[in-house]
Structures are given as C-alpha cells and as structure tokens.
Symmetry: C2
Subunit: 262 residues, 2 copies
Amino acid sequence: MSTRASKRQRMDKDEKFHLIYWPGIPGRGEHIRLALEEAGVAYTDTAHQENGVKEVISQIDTSNQGDTANPPPFAPPILRHGEYTLSQTPNILLYLGPLLGLSPLPTDDPVGMYHVNQLALTALDGFSNEAHDTHHPIAVGDYYENQKDEATKKARDYRENRLPKFFGYFERVLSGDASKGGEYLYGGQLTYADLVLFQTMDGVSFAFPKCIEKLKESEKYDKVFALYERVKEREKIKAYLESERRQKYSQGIYRHYSELDG
Amino acid sequence: MSTRASKRQRMDKDEKFHLIYWPGIPGRGEHIRLALEEAGVAYTDTAHQENGVKEVISQIDTSNQGDTANPPPFAPPILRHGEYTLSQTPNILLYLGPLLGLSPLPTDDPVGMYHVNQLALTALDGFSNEAHDTHHPIAVGDYYENQKDEATKKARDYRENRLPKFFGYFERVLSGDASKGGEYLYGGQLTYADLVLFQTMDGVSFAFPKCIEKLKESEKYDKVFALYERVKEREKIKAYLESERRQKYSQGIYRHYSELDG
C-alpha cells in the first residue's frame, strides 16, 4: 500500500496551525492534536501557552461576531490556519484530513472523505458525547454531585446498551469490505477516523475501566481492540503519548467515578 | 447576488436520490428532504413507500457489514445515490451541498463548505440532539414515562440555559460580517445550514411553544426568527410544507409534553 502522506493536498508551509482549547484536559482538542502529531506538522496550542485560557475565552465571548471570512465559533476546539478560523471537532478534522494525508483525496476516491467523516461522527457520538452525558445527564452547567442519582442510571444504560452497540458497529465496519482488510476503518490505510476511534476508546477506558475490560474479555470486538493497539503503537502517536504534550484525564469529557463503572 | 444553483457540481442526472428513513415522523430525515425539495430534484423516500420500514431495518441490521464501496450505516437517515450509501445527517448534507447548489463550491470559497458544516453541526447539536435529550435524559431505549422526573429537570435547564445560548449564538452569526448582510447564516446566500436551522427551530417550536414564544417576544433574537420566516416562505419550501410529503410531528425527536414546556 502506498502511503497517503505523499499525496497531501498542497498546503502553504508558512501558514501555522494554532489550536485554541482549554488547558488541563485532553478533551475534544485531543482529536485535533492527534491528527497534527500523526502528520508530524508543527502547531501551537493554547493549552501550553501562558494566558492560553484568555484566548479561548475571548473566542467564545458573546461579543465575538467573527470576521469577514469566518463566523464566530460556538465552543472550542477552534483551529486557526492562516486567515481561517474553524470550529466543531469533526469539522476541523474534515478540513485537516486532505491537508495532512489523513483522508482520501477526492481524485482517488470521490466519496472517501464522506465515509471517513461518517465514521468519525459516529465514534464521537457514541464514545465521546454519550460518555460525557453519563456524568452530566441533566445540566452541563451544574455539578456532577447535583445529578449523581440520574448519572448512575444513565451510566448503567450506557454500559449495558449503548457501549456494546457502538463497539458492535465498529467491529462490523472492520469486518466489512470497505475497510479493505480490517486493520483500519476505511480503505486499508490510517485515516483520522481511526485516530478518533483510538482517542474516544482511550477516554472511555479511563472512565469505565471495568466495563471496557469486560467488553474486551468477551472477544466479540477483537478487531476494534486490535485497531486501538495498532494506533497506539504508531511511531509518532507513541512518541506523543509519552511526551509532556499529552495531558492527563481529569474533570473533562472523560471522568472516572467508580460508582458509574458498575 | 448570483444564484448558486447555476454553479452546482456536475451530477449524473441518471443517479437517483433515495432517502432511507423511518416513516411517520419528520425526524432527522427531514433535513435531507428539505435540501432535496429546495433544490427541486426528484427523490424517493422509504417514508412513503410500502415496506419502507423493512428497508430501514435491513440497513441497520447487525448483519449488515456494508459493501466494497461503503461502510455500513449506524442509524438512519441514509442516502443512496448511485453506488454510494451515506449516513449521518450532517455528512449527507455535506455531500449534497455542492451537488444541489446549497453550499459554496471550493473554487469560489475554499473554506465555505467547512463554515457551512460548522453551522449545521451547531444547529443540530443545540436544537435537535439536546431537544431529544430533554424527553430521554436517561435511556434512549426506554419509555418517556420511566424517565419523566429526570426529563422535567433536563427540560428546565434546556429552556433556561441551553436554548437561549444557542439562539444567542445564531443571532451573533447573523450579526457578523461573514453572513454578508444577516439574511442567511453564511455568505449572503441560502445554504443547507439555513435549512437545518429552520427545521430545528420548527421542531423546538412544536415541542416548546410557550418557551419559544417567550424567546421571540424578548426581541433579542430577531434576526434568527426572521431567518426562520424567510426560509419558510421560499417558494419550494412553502410548497413542500403544504404538501402531503411533509409529515406531522409525533413521537420522534420533537415531542410536545406540556409539563416540559414550563
């Protein structure tokens, strides 16, 4: 298989990538970081900059109406690239895919970018958005302690019904012919959808270690767990995960409360 | 302003659009219908076909691994176009945008498609996904009656905090320079993001009529409500809404329970 990195879309080397995201947690910003790290391109990151939080806050301030070229962002992560400002995690990845060699170019595969987007959206829904809702089922702006009873119920449904459903889906994707061999989700090569699945699985494994261990032991989702290890061992991803740039999970999307792990 | 319909991407006229979605509710399938209706292209729809439900169920059956060209879908809506099968609402719209003249072509605006996608994702998050969660905060597979207490709390937070936040965001988008005048969300012309905002507002207005009336009367979101009316009065949208193809809200994403409307 030829490497897709040699077939990136033309990109102005002078235009720096700047990630605007909260410091202190991997969060949704992590999906953007993993794509940039895998591609080996330089980027700046407010999570590691003095006053980085101020930049996040000014971007999502209710006085920000964007500019001539860009609507305002609703929430971080936000990517600045040259004159462009983009937000919404799957949207930033969609933009980065062809630039970083992490999704098929339309000239090679007319619908490849849509299939990769579909897979990334599904992983984000199942393993990120729904995982977050387990500890905040009632109000995102209120404390976990104030919605703990509801969280316990929501987490049970997530562990028993939703997680197996999503794991089963991705096992089917990897068993299907469009994966071209089942090593990666689509087209026989790494795409950003694999990075998203890796990171969301890593997050739910932190939040629900007992539950994920049980799913692994069931041997029903071997292809999914193998993909997780495959991504984790990629040279640049491995180096990144061992670096100080990789932040620890804490009070973000993925939280470990033993009472929610069953 | 030139009409974008004259600058659609080349499309094989023989390839029919076929929407695969549950009958009986507008649901998420409605976003795909509105795009096709606005563009005036012919399409078939399982919602209006005998045995349509069977086709939906076979697509999302756990035995479906997709085919050589297409990963399996996780959930409807699903669009078949020629040999391609696409799923995830915002992904189908992303695909249809340039084909139907409902998003900027890269040759005219290199990041326009990403900005439109970002706006559509935000409207779907705030006015569709979160609206759904108000009546199913604990378990999507369980009855509303079994999570009514939690739903009452969740709906209060949605009415008081989340809805105003999302309305405020779209008012800012329409006030910003990238909207090019504030009639539509982006670039001075209708895009599918406007259709998504219209449909999601229509849905939340059905579910929370008192709350939406109050938000309207506050006069803080005049541009957003004006956009809603502007889309509703477009010739083809108006004709569609008056047709039998437009299904009524019932037990789908948008449900009216007076106890959730405050």
